[in-house]
């Protein structure tokens, strides 16, 4: 895991990397997920989740900045010693594999439900995984360029939602404050899956070129951009559907767009879902990239490019085993449960240990 100077990414690209990793599979289901916990006040929960993540960032930044010349692997090695660090990195490796698998199977489930009900599973999955492998073989700066490029599509994601406002009812958002604080927290938890992606900062920090302050700025900006987009989406959906309807629709954003009709084009949901595929691909690409980084340190694979192919095949193969909706849902539950440890507890422990121990010398392993 070497970092050479010419394949670094700028702070602007960090913004796009984080945004594109965060926005992905969950934007379709997020309004309904938060509705389950706090009903029409879900957007408050999303804002709370954003604030919590901003706090988590306060753990990450001192940690990665303390080890700014080290990758995450050497970071754990220095703080916790070799045996534990191998164990932890193995954990992260499986965590990223699980997240990638979850993305892949949820993507398949949505595509099968909305666009291609009878197309074989392997084909739909192979499309997205092969595109991901094709890009992840390159260095991070190429990935950053691609992310910045496809972020232009977010304009369409926002624009099409304005069609929902043709039949919006502001009263659906009221009254505010009808649930307790505990419910808000629960709502925030259910939106966590949609927020995942900011943790890449831990792993890509050595590849970033820019001052600490600028990095914090662009990561915070990315988090709040995502949170705003989610709030906008959720509010659009809540304004469109009455509280009774929303419980019935599994993908409220798509149903909202489906209802719109114009003399020029019908079924905006099909346009939306096409763009959504790109967002899913970008999320998958980032996790596959992280997987490939870990294959280099914990498996006897020297070249990252081989690791990419290995990781891609592994994810694809395991994803093929998930058949029933129940198993997919159970797996989703499992991933969001373990993600607390990987994005919060372990970095917190690492920071505490690092603060107790001495500051590492530059370039020393």
């Amino acid at each position: 895991m070497e970092t050479s100077l010419n394949n670094r990414i700028s702070t602007t690209q960090v913004f796009f990397v984080i945004v594109q990793t965060q926005i992905g599979i969950s934007i379709l289901t997020l309004p309904r997920d938060v509705y389950g916990a706090v009903e029409w006040e879900g957007w408050i929960s999303i804002a709370i989740a954003g604030a919590v993540i901003q706090l988590v960032l306060l753990i990450y930044v001192p940690l990665v900045f303390r080890f700014k010349h080290h990758t995450f692997f050497t970071l754990t090695k220095i703080t916790l010693g070799t045996p534990i660090s191998v164990f932890i990195n193995l954990g992260y490796f499986f965590y990223f594999i699980s997240v990638s698998i979850l993305i892949l199977i949820l993507y398949y489930r949505t595509i099968a439900a909305w666009l291609l009900p009878v197309t074989p599973k392997w084909m739909i999955m192979l499309l997205i995984i092969s595109a991901a492998v094709y890009l992840v073989r390159e260095d991070i700066h190429i990935i950053g360029r691609f992310y910045a490029l496809v972020s232009g599509l977010l304009v369409i994601v926002i624009a099409v939602q304005f069609t929902g406002y043709t039949s919006a009812n502001p009263l659906y958002l009221l009254p505010i404050g009808h649930v307790g604080i505990k419910d808000y927290i629960e709502g925030a938890q259910s939106s966590l899956q949609a927020m995942l992606g900011f943790e890449v900062l831990l792993f890509i920090y050595p590849f970033i070129q820019g001052a600490k302050k600028k990095v914090i700025q662009s990561v915070s900006l990315a988090i709040w951009f995502t949170v705003s987009l989610y709030i906008f989406t959720t509010v659009s959906v809540f304004l469109f559907f009455s509280p009774d309807e929303i419980e019935l629709v599994p993908h409220p954003v798509l149903y909202m767009l489906k209802a719109y009709s114009s003399p020029f084009i019908d079924r905006l949901d099909l346009i939306f879902i096409s763009i959504w595929i790109v967002s899913v691909t970008t999320s998958l690409i980032m996790y596959l990239y992280l997987v490939s980084l870990f294959t280099q340190v914990i498996l006897p694979i020297k070249k990252r490019k081989t690791g990419v192919l290995f990781g891609g095949t592994l994810i694809f193969a395991i994803s093929m085993f998930f058949e029933s909706n129940e198993s997919i849902d159970a797996f989703g539950e499992f991933v969001s449960k373990i993600s607390y440890s990987f994005i919060f507890y372990i970095p917190a422990v690492l920071l505490i240990v690092a603060l107790i121990r001495k500051k590492p010398e530059r370039g020393k392993e």
Partner: protein
């Protein structure tokens, strides 16, 4: 293992035995000029295999010293000889006088008669003097060149109407006429196995990247072919990824285009004997710029640039989108259009992909048939192909009329791009999209576009990102390359360009 070795050996031997189709692979053993005139004459005649256009002219000085002038009449300009040589012959009374005359007309003294052969083949004349152990090579090269006219495939409405010709020197002259920069540097390179192809590298020292010039030199040195070297071959050797469908160089016949690029820090390559110049490194968006953009109002210039980029998207995706809509997502058709499309498509016996392929291939055939024919016949083919086939095929009920509209729109869009090589790439890029659209609908199209975009992000031209200014994104580059902001504002951007380029 042994088998493989055998195989390799065989292959190597085969390569060795291959007949050489080169021009200058005939090695002449060095032979000094003999003082006996006849020996030299025989040597030259034998070396040139008694070719009949080898002309010899016997002359005498003071009626005692024999001289012999030899030249190849097809290569030499006899008028030039008459003016520079024969007319002065009357004043020559001794060999001393002769040498004086020759000095004035930049003759080259050759000690070896074997060296005279290449000179002869260049169109020079060789003068032997009896009793001298050297000979003279006189400049009598015939220069026949095309007029400097407007290049047919790169016309502009306003601006210079000069185009490059097949003579490298003339091309460099044309470029130097436009760029009066003291740091404009010309480097000559001889490439190929036998170093028989001459090309020149033009760049402006201080603006062009030194690393890139060195890199070009390294890649040119790798060319180990003994065939006649053409610009296409050089392009492939210079490309970062030869397997990419996108051209990573730009070939142009316009001096003004070259001049603009030269001042922008690009490197120009001329090949002797070809009227096209190669411009390196290049970005995707340079193909969508025309010199007319800079000569029209900036609103118009920007509008047409955006229109060309839109044409790229249409040319690549339109048939695919149509196929996807008809086969998978007919819900997307608005209510008013439903019956129109239903009427057109309902009775067609084939699936849309077959229709589309049939029409696309017909169109490619018409284009390919018309492109190299003289223009009157070419027009006839256009009419027969376009109007007759188009109309008949709809009436016969093979292809829906909407498909004809789609294919025609796509074809027009693909011809909008001002550069020919990009045009070819675009036309090929839409076939995978059509196939994927017929298999998977919008998902297939998105997959293909995803791959194309990833590829464009990966691609580099001499190490420079190919999809700049979109990837890496640069707002100033966007203003400069994708729209055309007014020239007065452009100068401000130019000043900041250097610092911007360093960010990735």
């Amino acid at each position: 293992m042994k088998f493989m070795q055998l195989f390799n050996k065989k292959k190597r031997q085969k390569n060795y035995e291959e007949p050489n189709p080169t021009i200058a692979d005939y090695e002449i053993p060095p032979k000094p000029t003999n003082s006996v005139l006849n020996t030299n004459r025989v040597f030259i005649k034998e070396t040139l295999n008694y070719t009949e256009d080898l002309t010899e002219n016997e002359l005498q000085i003071n009626q005692d010293t024999d001289c012999l002038l030899m030249f190849i009449e097809s290569l030499s300009d006899e008028e030039k000889l008459e003016k520079n040589f024969y007319s002065k012959w009357e004043n020559v009374y001794s060999t001393w006088d002769l040498e004086k005359v020759l000095k004035n007309m930049d003759a080259i003294k050759l000690l070896h008669v074997s060296d005279a052969i290449p000179h002869l083949l260049e169109g020079k004349s060789i003068l032997f003097i009896d009793g001298f152990e050297y000979c003279y090579s006189l400049n009598s090269t015939k220069v026949i060149q095309r007029e400097i006219g407007q290049p047919d495939n790169e016309q502009v409405i306003r601006g210079g109407h000069q185009g490059f010709v097949e003579k490298m020197i003339v091309n460099i002259y044309l470029l130097r006429q436009l760029v009066h920069h003291p740091q404009l540097t010309v480097r000559y390179e001889h490439i190929g196995e036998k170093k028989n192809t001459k090309l020149s590298l033009l760049f402006i020292e201080g603006i062009a990247d030194k690393e890139q010039i060195n890199e070009i030199g390294r890649r040119l040195a790798k060319i180990k072919t003994n065939k006649l070297i053409s610009s296409g071959l050089i392009e492939e050797y210079l490309e970062d990824s030869p397997y990419s469908p996108f051209p990573q160089y730009m070939s142009t016949e316009r001096p003004d285009r070259c001049a603009l690029n030269l001042l922008d820090g690009k490197i120009i390559i001329f090949i002797d004997g070809e009227s096209t110049a190669l411009i390196l490194p290049i970005t995707f968006f340079s193909f969508y710029q025309s010199n007319d953009d800079y000569n029209s109002r900036w609103y118009a210039g920007s509008f047409y640039r955006l229109l060309r980029l839109f044409s790229f998207i249409t040319a690549v995706t339109l048939p695919g989108v149509y196929i996807a809509i008809i086969s998978f997502h007919f819900e997307i058709i608005p209510y008013g259009m439903t019956y129109v499309i239903k009427d057109a498509v309902e009775l067609i016996p084939y699936p849309p992909i077959i229709e589309a392929f049939f029409m696309e291939l017909t169109l490619e055939l018409i284009r390919e048939a018309g492109i190299r024919l003289p223009s009157p016949i070419g027009q006839t083919i256009g009419i027969v192909g376009g109007l007759v086939i188009g109309d008949a095929v709809v009436n016969a009920g093979f292809v829906s009329s909407i498909m004809i509209i789609v294919v025609a729109l796509t074809a027009i869009s693909s011809f909008v791009v001002p550069a020919n090589e990009m045009n070819m790439s675009i036309r090929l890029l839409r076939f995978p999209i059509m196939i994927m659209a017929s298999l998977l609908g919008f998902v297939g199209i998105i997959f293909c576009l995803n791959l194309y975009l990833i590829h464009l992000c990966k691609l580099t031209s001499l190490g420079q990102p190919y999809f700049y200014p979109l990837a890496p994104f640069s707002f100033k580059g966007l203003l400069k390359d994708i729209v055309r902001i007014p020239h007065t504002k452009m100068n401000m951007l130019e000043a900041n360009k250097k610092s911007k380029n360093k960010e990735s």
